[in-house]
């Protein structure tokens, strides 16, 4: 199984999970994570993944709940979800984060309804970004494999759950070249799970009791402190990883050709690949551009980003999320990192619901940033005609119907109808 393979991202991740010797895997299907859990299931059934129970549960809420019970009882636990599933298990996500249980979960990033949409964006991870989990974003399927392996070690050392985010379809369903490590390598890197807290009759205690106003703030401070610890631990673990596996696939942020760059793009996940192509093309034409990919979104590496972006004049944040009425969530955090600088920060909302992000569109945006012509916030590749017509149409008549279902109908015809 190990070595270089041309393989679907999901199946590569399934193999990586299996190499980490999880003891309890619980799954509820949702596009686009299904192939991952199916892959792990097959490995359990065929005996390739030993001493692991694969439990089919009745909802995502149950899936993470089973993982919580298993982890609290001392077993290495794993699950995967996306989109609506993350919301359905949201209460449990906060529970695991608050209790500090080292569960690892894959998120196959997918948009959240309404409107329902099965394609990629980051709204699902963003919805729970402050639940106390560590959130790592993979740029490639190789990185997805490598981050999962690091995730277990990180989670268990810190006693904190980790979600590894990989773009749905773009990564999960893409066949690409991936180097799958050997069991010996992973065993050398990832020791057996040693719990900080565990349900054990030999040493009984109560876990998860109510905490009153007199101590709650302190408990929450310690969760905050744990995220700060993670900022130190993530690069450390990355260095150990490099030593064992021979490649750099880790860390908090990654800079690409930012030396002397006036314009720097920042993004999470797979779009960074396209961005690097754009940087190379623009550099070849003499433009001073670079990019930074953020691997660790939580903890958010304020200091590291300040250093990585500090010499730029314009920072363009390419966001696969939307805070309606405001802009992008990543840009807000970037602004905090760059708060004492005169750097111009722009939000570009792109790729929502799986809309492709093209080199051409990105090139136009980065060039515009260089010319100082970008608005603070914009939607990439927005069809202005459609939205303008819909705004007019819905103002003209009260019962204008559901937006999504009407938006692509002939605007002139619907307005005429409304006027009759």
């Amino acid at each position: 199984m190990s070595g270089l393979q041309q393989i679907e991202g999901s199946l590569a991740v399934a193999q990586a999970i299996a190499l980490c010797r999880p003891e309890v895997v619980c799954a509820y299907p949702i596009t686009p994570q299904t192939h991952i859990v199916e892959g792990v299931c097959a490995l359990v059934r065929t005996g390739k993944l030993k001493n692991c129970e694969f439990i089919n549960v009745e909802s995502e809420f149950a899936a993470l709940s089973v993982a919580i019970g298993a982890s609290a009882a001392g077993a290495r636990a794993y699950t995967a979800t996306a989109s609506q599933g993350i919301l359905h298990m949201a209460e449990a996500i906060y529970n695991a984060g608050g209790l500090g249980l080292p569960i690892v979960m894959t998120v196959g990033n997918r948009a959240i309804g309404a409107p329902i949409n099965i394609w990629n964006d980051h709204m699902d991870s963003m919805a729970v970004k402050d639940a106390g989990w560590i959130q790592l974003f993979a740029e490639t399927n190789q990185e997805a494999v490598d981050l999962h392996i690091q995730a277990f070690r990180l989670a268990e050392e810190l006693s904190c759950p980790v979600m590894v985010c990989m773009d749905g379809f773009i990564l999960t369903h893409a066949y690409e070249r991936v180097d799958i490590p050997t069991q010996a390598q992973v065993d050398a890197f990832l020791p057996p799970y040693e719990p900080v807290q565990v349900l054990d009759p030999a040493e009984p205690y109560s876990i998860g009791a109510m905490v009153g106003p007199d101590a709650y703030t302190e408990v929450r401070y310690l969760a905050h402190e744990k995220q700060l610890q993670a900022l130190r631990l993530i690069p450390e673990i990355g260095r150990v990883f490099e030593g064992v596996f021979g490649r750099t696939s880790c860390g908090l942020v990654y800079s690409y050709r930012t030396e002397g760059a006036d314009v720097v793009a920042v993004a999470l996940g797979s779009v960074n690949g396209t961005i690097k192509e754009v940087v190379d093309a623009m550099r070849a034409d003499g433009a001073a551009v670079g990019s930074v990919s953020v691997t660790s979104f939580r903890p958010f590496p304020l200091e590291e980003l300040r250093v990585a972006l500090g010499d730029a004049k314009h920072v363009v944040v390419i966001e696969k999320n939307l805070a309606p009425g405001l802009g992008g969530m990543v840009a807000s955090d970037i602004r905090m990192a760059l708060r004492d600088t005169p750097i111009q920060i722009y939000t570009v909302i792109a790729g929502l619901g799986g809309r492709p992000i093209t080199m051409a569109a990105l090139q136009e945006v980065l060039a515009g940033a260089g010319d100082g012509k970008l608005p603070d916030m914009q939607f990439l590749d927005l069809d202005h005609g459609i939205v303008e017509h819909e705004i007019i149409r819905s103002h003209r008549v009260r019962r204008s119907g559901p937006t999504a279902e009407n938006i692509l109908r002939n605007p002139a015809a619907t307005i005429a109808q409304a006027e009759n």
Binding site: A70, P201, E203
Partner: protein, 338 residues
């Protein structure tokens, strides 16, 4: 943490006169609670109301389970009265490993604990606990999932027939006509509506799980026997215990056991056992009491009898429900023992 305080032994006065009175019985026939050596899984000092049926039931159930498993037991607890009154921060009255799940996922969390124990090769049994709200309402989906997978968990529902911890709101286990904060005794149809009812023990049986039983705090030996039997079995097991709540039911704290007995003897709460979907045993009623005998001592039913708001039809419907239970479970046949 455990090193701070050694496990607390039972103090003599804790066992109370009912159990001290067991002096007349053979030792083997005495309840586990009567023993000074009981595990004291829920030690004294918890904040339950005076006369709390749930505290009584849980204490009995868990000490039996601890004895039967030699102390190899973990408890998972849904949010609710039991969870709240046993863990007044920063204290806990639990002397066994205990995990508070969330409100709606105790069955699923317990499933995870059981799976972990298997993976670790540890023969440790798992008990999941919740009130009626956490079991019949918000936890229903997870419970059904646990049943369907036949996960190795004993689930105990302490049924006080409303969301008591949050101030007595109606749950799907609240009996028709009962007063709660969300089914107040005002307006044209006071109290809880006559719905179709949600019989969790029957629903559990419909999943064909290895063991389903009902019990009350009026039959404490019976309760202990059922937990003792259930804890040793494998697979999904469900125990539904009627635990009167003096606060929510409006009954006297000293009447908790008495009222539970009235529920049983009127047929309103049938006590039975079932295995794989079939009733295997039922507690026979010595002498059927009219259901109004059960209703009258509880202020939550007072409006049914109060001048001006009498509802003889409501009472008659409740009587028919009790009669239907008696027929369905054959509760009036020959008793096999005294």
């Amino acid at each position: 943490m455990a090193q701070d305080s050694a496990l607390q032994r039972v103090k003599f006065y804790q066992t109370g006169t009912h159990t001290v009175g067991n002096r007349l019985m053979d030792e083997e026939a005495r309840s586990v609670q009567a023993s000074m050596e009981r595990s004291n899984a829920i030690t004294s000092g918890h904040r339950a109301c005076q006369g709390c049926g749930e505290a009584l039931g849980a204490r009995y159930a868990l000490d039996v389970a601890m004895r039967a498993t030699g102390g190899q037991l973990v408890a998972v607890n849904a949010t609710g009265c039991l969870e709240v009154f046993t863990t007044p921060y920063p204290e806990t009255s639990w002397q066994i490993p205990w995990l508070h799940s969330l409100f709606g996922n105790a069955p699923a969390v317990a499933t995870g604990v059981a799976a972990a124990m298997r993976r670790k090769g540890r023969n440790i049994k798992v008990v999941a606990q919740g009130g009626d709200g956490g079991t019949t309402d918000i936890g229903f989906g997870c419970l059904s999932g646990m049943f369907e997978r036949n996960d190795d968990v004993l689930y105990i529902c302490y049924d006080n027939e409303a969301y008591m911890n949050t101030g007595v709101q109606r749950s799907s286990a609240t009996p028709a006509t009962a007063r709660t904060a969300t089914t107040p005794t005002v307006g044209g149809a006071p109290g809880n509506v006559f719905g179709t009812g949600k019989n969790l023990p029957l629903i559990a049986m419909a999943h064909n799980i290895p063991y389903v039983a009902t019990a009350t705090v009026a039959g404490l030996h019976d309760l202990e026997a059922k937990v003792n039997k259930a804890i040793d079995m494998a697979g999904a097991r469900y125990l539904h215990i009627l635990v009167p709540c003096p606060l929510g039911w409006g009954s006297a704290p000293c009447d908790t056991i008495h009222i539970a007995r009235l529920a049983v003897e009127s047929g309103f709460f049938p006590v039975f056992e079932a295995e794989h979907g079939r009733v295997t045993a039922a507690h026979k009623i010595r002498r059927q009491l009219p259901v109004s005998d059960y209703l009258r001592p509880q202020r939550r039913f007072a409006h049914l009898f109060r001048k001006g708001t009498e509802d003889s039809e409501g009472v008659a419907t409740l009587q028919r429900m009790a009669d239907a239970n008696i027929e369905r479970f054959n509760l009036l046949g020959e008793r096999k023992s005294p």
